[in-house]
Symmetry: C2
Subunit: 227 residues, 2 copies
Amino acid sequence: MNRVITVERTLDATPRMEAERFRQLLAGRGTLVVNLLSSPGSGKTSLLAATAQHWAGKYHMAVLVGDIATDRDAQRLAPHVPVIQLTTGGACHLGLPLVQQGWERFAEQAFDFLFIENVGNLVCPSSHDLGEHLRVVMLATTEGDDKPAKYPKAFRTSHAMVISKTDLLPYVPFDVSAAAADARSVRPDLEVFPLASLSGSGLEPWCDFLVRQHGLRLAETVSTGGG
Amino acid sequence: MNRVITVERTLDATPRMEAERFRQLLAGRGTLVVNLLSSPGSGKTSLLAATAQHWAGKYHMAVLVGDIATDRDAQRLAPHVPVIQLTTGGACHLGLPLVQQGWERFAEQAFDFLFIENVGNLVCPSSHDLGEHLRVVMLATTEGDDKPAKYPKAFRTSHAMVISKTDLLPYVPFDVSAAAADARSVRPDLEVFPLASLSGSGLEPWCDFLVRQHGLRLAETVSTGGG
């Protein structure tokens, strides 16, 4: 069981250069940073817990989890993975300064993957670069397949979309192909991963994708980085 | 079938006095203004369509529906109710100027209820007074019963909470009593309405509540209003 640490601060704007510096720093340490966006209750925390269990012992991952209030998500993740709770005190998204402050609390630990679970909000987080190498947007089958065009920026700025809660497909009016097509109308090269975190169905392609991205994106970041 | 009209504008801050003026104006005309907040995909549009069908011919209602992009929600509502689509062009919440502009498009039509379906976002809309008499927050059973304390402002500033998609309760880990208790920990006098818009279950107590509020809140607004 990992100890839960809470870092509280309200955020302001993030200069692009500082995000780039953080991206380079983490790439140099071999850590792929993944920024995970979605509405409240789409299943971000459950996906991270399931990913940690899938990889147990194979890859080292850590989580910075953002919330407006409470450390509930960190408490849920602590049995599975090193986690720091970031509390925004009302702000609707995470900003880089709080992410950096949280990351420093891990001290000298080395990770293959650092996941940033953003505040549950399909709008505002999409405008803030947290120095991530990979941005992933999550859409639950219970939210309806019409969301990508209605909330386009989160989908346009992401590399991949996770369609969560596929175990509820028999009970909800959601068409996976329609959702994928809608998302690709705003981001044609979006990778799509339908899965159910609670049953583990679809988890393997998602985890394999992350491992491939670890190799690709870190090499790319290091090669394009300035001195 | 009602015609869909789209009003587009980006928003700025709303002075409190202007909201109060709008609240008085609509109260004077016998129109209860209801501001409906939730995450994307909680079922705001479905609830408004079901409410309109429940009342068909009995009460006159209209909807101002806010989205970042597309007029999909207005298209869905148009067969049931007079509707104006408000498009924020990226902004994460509705502001009063856009609401007023939309309302003016209804010209001289008289309504018992004017619903404002806010942008799907459980954070930012809670900070903006749209001149409503009643604020209602909606939480779907698929979002988890732990949301009120994690997103407290939407619940603290609302008069009522609709728990939607109760038809999915057999398939999701959601406890209605726990969600109500969590919400009442931030707003003790919150009224709670569990319902399923698609089946109509629980719709009657919700509609009866609105009718009671119409009498109570309009009388209250007029009596406390300045000249």
